[in-house]
């Protein structure tokens, strides 16, 4: 179908360290499906709701009081850019979920602004995900999800919900904003799980 455009190469793609179909970027593209929420840290709150309806809350001071980690990870966006060795600071989900009584298998991340994305609980634990509030040594910009976003770098970056405000745990898997519109329910970049059925 279609033609090849003579002399068109597009942005640089490929390279052994990248998942299939990705290209390398040095800048940090801003993807947005809606207006950027501007949430003040004094109003910020993060809530985990267990499958029994129990709520666990952290305000900004409580988040800051938790042990923080420096994280350096590659990130891969489903729109095909990858950015290597990005550095973040935040709190591990292992820490946040440590006192949450749950046997749930699934989590739905909810954001200020209404965005949602589903992630299995197993992918949030064991040092695989964080609530991050610094990028490159600076407070996280609102356009990149500040004051705090979820970081799940081993999955496509739409799973790393910007402006995260909570997790709702559940025994059954629901689908989030992009997952209900044709994107893959899990989203492993190395298996190139971009779309439903991949």
């Amino acid at each position: 179908m279609g033609i090849v455009s003579p002399g068109f190469t597009g942005r640089q793609r490929g390279g052994t360290e990248l998942p299939p179909g990705q290209y390398l970027t040095r800048d940090f593209p801003v993807l947005s499906a809606g207006p950027t929420p501007h949430v003040l840290t004094e109003h910020w709150e993060f809530t985990v709701t267990s499958e029994t309806g129990e709520k666990y809350r952290w305000d900004w001071a409580a988040l800051m009081a938790l042990p923080a980690e420096e994280i350096t990870k590659d990130i891969h966006c489903v729109t095909r850019w990858s950015k290597l060795q990005t550095t973040w600071k935040g709190v591990s989900l292992d820490t946040l979920l440590a006192d949450v009584e749950t046997g749930a298998d699934y989590a739905m991340a909810h954001s200020y602004g209404g965005y949602t994305t589903n992630v299995p609980v197993d992918d949030l634990l064991d040092g695989q995900s964080w609530i991050v509030y610094e990028f490159d040594g600076e407070p996280l910009d609102p356009e990149h999800g500040g004051p705090a976003r979820l970081l799940v770098p081993h999955l496509y970056f739409w799973k790393s919900a910007k402006w995260v405000r909570g997790l709702v745990l559940s025994d059954t898997e629901d689908l989030g904003f992009w997952e209900t519109a044709g994107y893959h329910e899990y989203g492993d970049p190395w298996k190139e799980q971009r779309y439903a059925g991949d």
Binding site: L31, A33, G34, P35, T36, V78, G182, R194
Partner: protein, 88 residues
């Protein structure tokens, strides 16, 4: 906080023309969230995203989403109470 990371419904004309025989950008759209009723071309269109998202200029709720996969197009219209398309 003024923000300008969106286009408008005019820019969805190509994608929608692949699906529909009439031009929907000139249709009047009613938002299912707040009832705001305006020509679809005046909606806010976010294209720097995994899919195309049109939002209500009144309340910013999602009116329409279009995602193209290699095999299918997903079209989510649930944010619209109606699209009023002029006859003729």
């Amino acid at each position: 906080m003024s923000e300008t990371n969106y286009l408008d419904g005019n820019a969805a004309a190509g994608s929608l023309s692949e699906l529909f025989a009439v031009d929907l950008t000139a249709a009047v759209a009613r938002c299912n969230g707040c009832g705001h009723t305006a020509v679809f071309a005046e909606s806010r269109l976010y294209v720097d995203a995994p899919g195309m998202v049109a939002r209500c200029p009144g309340c910013e709720s999602v009116l329409l989403r279009v995602v193209k996969t290699p095999n299918d197009t997903y079209l989510d219209l649930r944010g619209l109470t109606y699209l009023r398309v002029p006859s003729s």
